[in-house]
């Protein structure tokens, strides 16, 4: 039975349960003084929820777990003993067999996959049957059990609300589950990486060249300092050199000088800059900005001007960040008490003097917090650097030279078809962990700065 049919079946069962339970509750006689706590439809909802929710929860878990179970069952079959023991080849044969079994592919590259396909199909059918049966049993059991509880004195409404509340709580726990999932998956894979490569080599080594990893000493080619420098140089120096002045001055102009009419038009226009997908910026950087930067570098007499320069990626990234800085600056300027501004103006200072001497210093902590948040976003930005920055890791101060970043290397490391267990793939997870920790710290610090500053004026 296909999963869609099953879903419809369960939904239909729920509908039936609703109608039946409601009809039954309607027939309750009530004596003159007795009042029910629940309307008939509350009983209907209660039975319907008890029918549908357990079955759907089971199906969701089953859908996520069963592929692994199927694979295990196939691996236990005698034919699987002839598979290569580990690595990419084994995974490829398995996935090929899976495709054939599902009828998505015809004919195999490897005869082994053809042989495994029937085993796959059989296991798939078996586990599908188990899943369907259990789900339907759960639906019936839930429906029957709750139907028996439909009595005049039963407060279905309260029970419904308790169920709904549990659902709400479960939904908000998903966020914690995701956070835990991120931390755990990054930590587990990174731990495997650090068993191969000493953590000191990774964090302090200055040579990054994953294409020639020496299996005896993988740490020698996996020193991430050039990546950290490149990320910092592009995301925190060049991008901020573009975004901070432009964003701050735009915010000042829009809040202090522009008429409300202009503001109403210009502000959404700037926000469009933040809505443009990063892949578009990346294409723009690679196609238009990078050649221009290289020519400019050549015109300035810089021989090493690269067409994958840090400057091109950083410039475009800065443009992307402008609205972000601008809206943070906007908020913190608006939070400065009007009395301070009015006081300065009343003393005869011009608007510019008021802004420079009073407003900006007063709003500075908020602006700095905003800049830190912007840095954290720039550091995690991927597509612009993937498309416009280079893959060669160099430690350089020259903005026209090619530089690489952490995110670019994560993408490069994971796009080769290497096995899941090589130092090269696992290095991506270690880089991801570093990125996650750094952005998290930046965010925490930024929020602390902003909060403390807000308290100062409240």
């Amino acid at each position: 039975m296909s999963s869609l049919t099953l879903l419809f079946l369960i939904a239909a069962l729920g509908l039936v349960a609703w109608v039946v339970a409601r009809a039954r509750a309607r027939r309750f006689r009530r004596s003159a003084r007795q009042r029910f706590s629940s309307l008939p439809q509350h009983h209907g909802w209660y039975v319907a929820l008890c029918t549908v929710v357990p079955a759907l929860t089971f199906l969701l878990i089953w859908y996520l777990v069963s592929p692994a179970l199927v694979t295990d069952a196939v691996l236990a079959s005698p034919r699987a003993a002839t598979l290569p023991t580990a690595g990419f080849e084994r995974a490829a044969i398995l996935s090929e067999a899976r495709e054939i079994a599902a009828g998505r592919a015809f004919g195999a590259f490897t005869p082994l996959a053809d042989g495994l396909a029937p085993a796959y199909a059989a296991a798939q059918t078996r586990f599908d049957a188990i899943g369907t049966t259990v789900a339907l049993l759960l639906a019936f059991a839930g429906g029957a059990w709750s139907f028996l509880r439909v009595r005049p004195g039963f407060s279905a409404r309260t029970h419904n609300e308790r169920l709904v509340m549990a659902l709400l709580l479960a939904a908000s726990l998903v966020a914690i589950a995701i956070s835990a999932g991120i931390v755990l998956s990054l930590l587990v894979e990174s731990a495997r990486f650090f068993r191969m490569v000493p953590i000191g080599d990774f964090l302090l080594g200055t040579r990054w060249n994953p294409s020639v990893i020496d299996p005896d000493d993988p740490g020698a080619a996996l020193g991430a300092v050039p990546l950290f420098w490149g990320t910092f140089f592009i995301g925190a120096v060049i991008a901020m050199a573009v975004a901070v002045p432009l964003g701050l001055m735009s915010a000042i102009y829009l809040t202090q000088y522009a008429t409300p009419r202009t503001r109403r038009w210009i502000k959404p226009l700037l926000e469009v800059l933040a809505g443009v997908p990063t892949v578009v910026y990346g294409y723009f950087a690679a196609l238009t900005v990078a050649p221009a930067v290289r020519q400019a570098g050549a015109a300035l007499g810089i021989a090493s001007a690269s067409s994958e320069s840090a400057l091109a990626a950083g410039l475009v990234m800065g443009i992307m960040i402008i609205p972000f800085v601008s809206s943070m600056a906007d908020d913190s300027l608006a939070a400065v008490p009007a009395a301070m501004r009015d006081g300065s103006l009343a003393m005869g200072a011009t608007s510019a003097e008021t802004i420079k001497r009073v407003l900006v210093p007063a709003a500075l902590p908020g602006v700095i917090g905003g800049v830190l948040l912007a840095v954290s976003r720039a550091v995690g930005e991927t597509m612009i650097v993937v498309m416009a920055a280079s893959g060669v890791a160099t430690l350089t101060l020259n903005p026209f030279a090619s530089t690489t970043t952490v995110t670019k290397q994560i993408v490069d490391l994971l796009t080769g078809e290497a096995a899941f267990t090589s130092a090269k793939t696992l290095a991506a997870f270690a880089l991801g962990l570093t990125l996650f920790v750094v952005t998290l710290l930046l965010n925490i610090v930024a929020l602390m700065v902003v909060r403390r500053y807000r308290e100062a004026y409240e």
């Binding site: 939904a171 908000s172 990054l186 597509m383 995110t407 991801g432």
Partner: protein, 431 residues
């Protein structure tokens, strides 16, 4: 000034230097004021300049994309006289009515017949090499619609090969430019419908966005189905029912942090959990949707919480006062009032997910997929990933295709954001 401002106060005369008022007309003072006003004007211009430069970047980006992309919607065609009687295809009009028409036409050697016709008509300009790889498919479709063409000569305009196409648009190699000049009036232009209906291809003239677009739509479907209910439910819980304690604080902090986690980290999570542990199929819309849902959910939670918080407390109190239960207060009163805000936030979150590329690259949606996905578990690509893949192509024909695909993506995003703004303006209630 001889009179004191304060009445009855003695005016001192000789002991101290008389305090003279500022002479605003003195030359030094006027210069100073002029300088200050000039600084004021400069500062103001600087601000205006920042706004103009920022908006100018956006305009420049759009102009570049439109200048390159508009040609991607257009294809160059060449008129080709065809006479299929000579080709001896062995086909009859009856066979083309049945369901096996495609197979019959493909097996009958139609492609060879079209190539032969091109070789005859344009021997000097490259013959069959002049035509796009997909040109014979047009002939096939045409014959299917009108089987009588098999028995008489006819003219058909067919798409040309990528090199000629690029040259006809004024950017080709010298050899191709010469061919274009020689063909002259036999070339024409038309809207490239195949760009909207095709999937990825190695030949720029056959490449289309439908494969990527359909992959994106399926991915978004999964994302919406997961992120929207979970996001809204958890926002309701946090805003309306959660007790104020440490656990709730922890929950809030983790949601706010999730919203700031770089998207590529979600991609790593998707790779490790959905593909590495759960063995879901690689590069399938379901995995992409799951990964993007993890990323979109915090955005929806935050937007929904703001919308729910904006509903006036008096409404809740009134509902509670007439006997509604806490759940009824939310479902009958708070949610309907907060719905526009929640929808706006959802649309904005979905727009962001639609433009997202990096997490999809992580879970392997970067393979070359030549057919649109049929289901949630088929290998697929997404529109932004398609753009990324095309941008890496060396062939010149892909430059305009990439920009054209970007324009399509931008139109989708602008439409979504426009709807969001419309919703906000129309239904927003201020209390």
């Amino acid at each position: 000034m001889s009179k004191s401002l304060v009445p009855h106060a003695p005016v001192s005369t000789a002991e101290v230097e008389p305090h003279r008022p500022t002479d605003w007309r003195s030359i030094a003072m006027e210069r100073r004021i002029r300088r200050r006003y000039a600084a004021e004007r400069r500062f103001r211009l600087l601000g205006l300049g920042a706004v103009v430069v920022s908006a100018g970047f956006l305009a420049f980006l759009l102009v570049v994309m439109i200048a390159q992309g508009h040609l991607g919607f257009v294809e160059t065609r060449v008129a080709l006289p065809l006479d299929l009687r000579q080709a001896r295809l062995g086909l009859t009009a009856e066979r083309l009515r049945g369901p096996g028409a495609d197979l019959a036409l493909a097996g009958a050697g139609l492609e060879r017949a079209v190539d032969a016709a091109a070789n005859r008509a344009y021997p000097m300009q490259g013959g069959a090499a002049l035509l796009s790889d997909g040109a014979w498919l047009r002939v096939r479709d045409r014959i299917k619609r009108d089987p009588h063409l098999l028995s008489r000569p006819f003219m058909l305009t067919l798409p040309v090969a990528s090199a000629i196409d690029v040259a006809a648009k004024g950017n080709g190699t010298p050899a191709a430019e010469r061919s274009v000049a020689a063909l002259g009036p036999r070339l024409s232009r038309g809207i490239a419908w195949s760009f909207f209906s095709g999937a990825d291809s190695t030949d720029a003239t056959r490449a289309g966005i439908w494969g990527g677009l359909k992959g994106s739509l399926l991915t978004m479907l999964v994302t919406l189905a997961l992120a929207f209910p979970i996001g809204v439910l958890s926002a309701i819980y946090l805003e309306e029912y959660a007790p104020r304690n440490r656990a709730t604080d922890f929950l809030e902090v983790s949601i706010n942090n999730l919203a700031a986690v770089p998207s590529i980290v979600f991609g790593l999570l998707g790779l490790a959990v959905f593909i590495g542990t759960l063995h879901l199929p690689r590069s399938a819309p379901i995995v992409g949707g799951l990964t993007l849902a993890l990323m979109t959910m915090p955005v929806i939670v935050i937007a929904s919480r703001n919308a729910i918080r904006a509903v006036a407390p008096s409404i809740r109190d009134a509902a509670l006062a007439v006997g509604a239960s806490p759940i009824q207060v939310v479902s009958h009163h708070v949610l309907p009032l907060a719905a526009p805000g929640i929808l706006t936030g959802t649309i904005i979150g979905m727009a962001r997910a639609l433009g997202e590329t990096a997490p999809l690259l992580m879970i392997g949606m970067r393979a070359f997929i030549a057919a649109p996905p049929g289901s949630l578990t088929d290998p697929a690509t997404a529109l932004p990933v398609q753009i990324f893949l095309w941008s890496d192509q060396v062939s010149r024909g892909f430059v305009e295709k990439t920009s054209a695909a970007i324009l399509v993506l931008l139109v989708f995003l602008l439409a979504m954001n426009g709807v969001a703004i419309l919703l906000r303006n129309r239904f927003e209630t201020r209390w």
